[in-house]
C-alpha cells in the first residue's frame, strides 16, 4: 500500500510528518486527513479556541505534494444567524 505523509499547518506553525501512514489510495488518505483535522480542532474547542485557518498537506515519500485538505473542508461550521 502507498505511504502518505500528513504535514499540518495551523496557528502554531508547521508540524512535519516524518512517519507517514499507509492507505489504499489518495481518497482514503484524504478521509484520514479530515479525521485528523477534526480531532485536533475538537481538542482546541475544549480549550476555547476554534481557528479554522489551517490545512493538512498530503505528500508522498519523495515529498511530492499530492493534495491539500483545508480545515474548512473537514468541518462544517454554522454560525449564529446563518441558515444551517
Amino acid at each position: 500500500m502507498p505511504h502518505f505523509f500528513f504535514h499540518l499547518e495551523n496557528r502554531i506553525g508547521v508540524t512535519r510528518d516524518h512517519d507517514g501512514q499507509e492507505f489504499s489510495d489518495l481518497a482514503a488518505a484524504r478521509i484520514a486527513a479530515a479525521t485528523n483535522i477534526r480531532d485536533i480542532l475538537a481538542e482546541e474547542v475544549k480549550h476555547g479556541h476554534l481557528d479554522m485557518r489551517g490545512r493538512i498537506r498530503i505528500a508522498d515519500a519523495q515529498d511530492g505534494a499530492l493534495a491539500v485538505v483545508s480545515f474548512t473542508e473537514a468541518l462544517a461550521v454554522t454560525l449564529e444567524g446563518e441558515s444551517g
Binding site: 500528513f6 499540518l8 512517519d19 501512514q21 483535522i37 480531532d39 485536533i40 481538542e43 480549550h47
Partner: protein, 239 residues
Amino acid sequence: MIDKHLLKLRARDAISAEEEAFIRGGVSGSAKVQRDTVVVRAFEPIHTSSILVSGIACRFKDLGNGRRQITELHVPGDFTDVHGFSLKYLDHDILAVTNCQFALVPHAHLQEMTEHQPHLTRVYWFGTNLDAAIHREWELSLGRRDATARMAHLFCELYVRLEIVGLVRQGAYDLPLTQVELSDCLGITPVHTNRTLQQLRSDGLVEFRSGQVILHDLAALKAIADFDPRYLYLRRMPH
C-alpha cells in the same frame, strides 16, 4: 532470561532464592516474535502465560471498524498475561508492538504455585492488581486529561516502569513506537499526536525521535501530567 522480571518483583517485595528457583524452573521455553504480531488473541483458550523478556508489547481492544485502543503498554519484566491463568481466555489481544522475546510459563506451573507457594501466589496476585491500577490511571487519562497531559503522563509512567528494570539511561529510554501506535495509546489521531509531540519538544520538556524518549525536564513534565507515581506501588511491602 527473566532477570528483569525478578527486578520488577523485587522492587515491591523480597523474593527468596528458593522462590527465584521456583520461578526460573517454571519457564518452559521462549518465543521470539516479529513486530506487529498478535501473540494472544482474544477469546481463544490459553494454557501458557508469557513474561516479556525484551521489546514492547501491548494489550489492546478494537471496534468492528478497526479502530484500536491500546489499554496498556508492557515493558520487559512484565508478566503480560498472568491474568489469563484465572480467566482461561483474554477479553483483549496481546500484540508484540516491536520485535519481542517472551519467556513461556505453562499454567500447570502456576497451578502448582498456587498450591505450594502461598507467598509467590500473593506476589502475582499483587501483579494483576498493579495492572488494574495502571488501567485505572489510563482511564483517568483517556477520560479527563487533555492530549498534552495524557502524553506527558505516558512518558512519565514509562520512565518509572523502565527505570525499575534498568532500561533508563541518562534520562532517556527506548520506545520504538510509530506515531500511529502512540496515538492508539492516547486515543487521539496520529497528526494530533505529532503536533502534541512538537509542542512538548518546543516547550523543552521531552523529545521523541528515532525510537527514543529523551526527557529534558522531568519535573515540568510530571507537573503537566499531574503525575502521582503512587498508583505504581513503588514501595517494597511484604505480601
